[in-house]
Amino acid sequence: MKDLINYTLHLADDALILGHRDSEWCGHGPVLEQDIAITNISLDLIGQARNFYQYAAQLINETVNDPKKIATEDTLAYLRDNRDFKNCLLVEQPNGDWAKTILRQFFFSTFQYYLYGQLQNGNDEQIAAIAEKSLTEVTYHVRWSSEWVIRLGDGTEESCHRMRNAIDELWMYTGELFSVAGYESKVVTQRIPVDMALIRAEWEKKVEEIFNEATLTAPIGVFMQTGGKEGNHTEHLGYILADLQFMQRAYPKSEW
């Protein structure tokens, strides 16, 4: 049960943290339509995170007797510490310029697309339902971000240069997407069979296809940084949480 709770929290944290990052663009997008697009994507991700947190809270509460320790979606998002968060390092990376935000979205949404495709057929009914529900939304995110990768990569000298910089900065965090954390190994072999090797192959194929169209090349032989799924984060997560959790830390149990 503990493993399943942690795995559900990992799925929730990935969606929440990327949703929060995307929301930082609100009012700052390069043009109005794209400001709306990135914040819409943010909303989808935060909605997906809520569904996973609600399920994690339900699982936690099944094992808790002390009413003070009852979990809710809010306590899980707002009152856990840096080391408790299980999101991948990729999603906590700063927005940088538009190219970096786009590329981070493309890498993650493509991964999410293939992962949720498998989760929706898994044996855990609630995770399958959330994955099924999210998949239609993620499909839009994949299309939108792929189009932008192509537009920038195969655009002007400047946009292509920025896209290459983004690849240099983010590629080292892509390996972690396919790594299997300690709590995850039992869950994805027994309870919800997930074929990570297949997801990785599909992801690589899609990235290659879009990069080819975008006149970009994927680096080879790069050291892959991992740790986020196990709670070892880059310095950036602390700053995100300081912002995200401020209200509940400063005014405990305040309601909107």
Partner: protein, 166 residues
């Protein structure tokens, strides 16, 4: 009110009074978000399904259903969210689609369409809700609410929202 004297159809007719706060011409039945109504011994259970995971209207809709039913005298109301099968625009009623068009929002077409991750596929033809021209183009796949995309008509030049297929 004693729930066992009420039939489902009556509840559904009450629910027609609950509107979508973002698209006030549509009620929750038109939207296709009411999956079931269950009359338990002393409790009325309404099963709803969200349109989009993060749609802020869903919390308001659930609250409005609760308020509406309690003003009618129902004491115990349970609203259950069901995610699977996932909501699709195919569940929107024909009447709902007509109301949308009259309101100035292009209604979703029937599935299957181009809701896949592939690029450079054929583009969906969307009819302008103002002048009925098919000569339109997409400005952005994301609009003022999660369920809409931005379009513009190349004939009457009016911008419009399209309730995107899902």
């Amino acid at each position: 009110m004693i729930t066992n004297k009420i039939d489902k159809r009556t509840i559904y007719s009450y629910l027609e009074e609950v509107k979508d706060p973002e698209v006030p011409v549509l009620n929750v039945i038109d939207m296709g978000i009411i999956r079931d109504v269950m009359l338990h011994e002393d409790q009325l259970e309404i099963i709803i399904t969200p349109t989009y995971s993060g749609c802020p209207a869903m919390d308001v809709i659930a609250m409005n259903i609760r308020i509406m039913l309690s003003t009618l005298g129902f004491k115990k109301i349970k609203i259950t969210q069901s995610l699977s099968p996932a909501w699709t625009t195919d569940w929107m009623s024909e009447q709902g689609k007509r109301k949308l068009k009259e309101y100035g929002i292009a209604p979703p077409g029937p599935k299957p369409q181009v809701c896949n991750e592939k690029l450079f596929g054929p583009n969906e033809a969307i009819q302008c809700p103002h002048c009925d021209s098919w000569h339109t183009h997409r400005v952005s796949e994301f609009g003022s609410t999660p369920c809409k995309a931005l379009y513009v008509c190349d004939d009457c030049k009016e911008p419009f929202d399209y309730f995107k297929c899902h």
